[in-house]
Amino acid sequence: MAWTREQMAARAARELRDGFYVNLGIGIPTLVANVIPQGMTVTLQSENGMLGMGPFPYEGEEDADLINAGKQTITELPQTSYFSSADSFAMIRGGHINLSILGGMQVSETGDLANWMVPGKMIKGMGGAMDLVAGVKRVVVVMDHCEKSGESKFRQICSLPLTGKGVVDLLVTDLAVFEIDRKGSGATLVELADGVTLDEIKAKTEATFAVRLG
């Protein structure tokens, strides 16, 4: 049985470590903020210029000058600091963020990621995604294993325009978890969702992968 969105977020949250500075993308990655383990201090960065992102405000307490990179109203915490977009991406590009958890459209077995445009459709822009995957020390992608059409999203080569080349370290899908070596030595299946079989993964995956199930 495939993992739910919440289960995928919970699996991604297992990549968190105490003291980590983390950037979460839009969509399922946002849910990771709700499942940070008790007693673990994780500081969330928002690339529009904030470190120490707090929860959504109570109704009526929203502040138009305080939004996250998804343009949602948020709040600050005691450890919060604000800075410019140049300083924010200096932090990202300089490798100071420990972990980024992002959504994806396609991931390749060499760690390429496509998540910003589909040829023929309106291009909205990559926002900060290209900077995050290029700069953050460890990148985790969370996405469905297959398109609605059944086509595998974890592929030998991405067919969509890339967000980054050789940038993904871990792929969490609704069916399985893969470690990916950025340097090109391949992908490894390390975990199956509850009730999912290796045969099912083999049938539904276009990418080549080794198997090392705990």
């Binding site: 928002s46 690339e47 529009n48 210029g49 904030m50 929860p55 959504f56 405000p57 109570y58 109704e59 009526g60 307490e61 929203e62 502040d63 138009a64 000058d65 305080l66 939004i67 996250n68 998804g70 343009k71 949602q72 109203t73 948020i74 600050e76 604000y82 800075f83 410019s84 977009s85 140049a86 924010s88 991406f89 200096a90 990202i92 590009r93 390429d112 309106m122 291009i123 909205k124 822009g125 990559m126 926002g127 900060g128 995604a129 290209m130 900077d131 290029a134 700069g135 325009p161 890339l162 967000t163 980054g164 080349k165 050789g166």
Partner: protein, 236 residues
Amino acid sequence: MSSKLYPDAQSALSGLTADNITVMSGGFGLCGIPENLIVGLRDSGAKNLTVIGNNVGCDEHGMWLVLANNQIRKVLASYVGENKILESRYMSGDIEIEFNPQGTLAERIRAGGAGIPAFFTRTGYGTAVAEGKETRQFNGEWYVMETGLTADLSLVKAWKGDTAGNLVYRKTARNFNPMIATAGKVTVAEVEELVPAGTLDPDQIHTPGIFVQRMIVGKSYTKHIERLTTRAREKN
């Protein structure tokens, strides 16, 4: 010294707007945008503008006003969603958009203001963003060369400003404003509150007055929220 302070957007932009110029404008989405100066830019009627900023407003708000008034020919931005007019003009070829990764855009503007004509970044290597650009290896990693950006006119929005032109921004409304203030041949700032020089803590000024040539006190801020998101109060 003649005052940097002008009574309104129209007078502050007088002599600075013209067809075919490049204009940078601060803000992330609608957060921290120079609302009054954007209206002034629209009212100037200047055409064939190149507009640089993270976004180009969204439907009915911000730089969308200048877009809807047919004044923009080219856009440099990182994200242009939620903007139907821009979408249709881009698809029809009436407007050119150069997409920049957000951090690359921020750094290009910072570089432009800092006298750095080009720098190398990992961002975009191996993607469409690197096409036509020089790439090079440093310490075994591949990088893309990106160039600095400047503008004929920079428009920024601050929270507080003093009569020397020193600016302080508030929370995430800071975003692109500080770099954009440094990258304009002329920079015009609007502030929510004007204070006498000496009021702001000199250790805590985000944009020193040297970068601000003209300023206005903004009026009637809308501060439209794009995605109001709240949580319910816990019951007692």
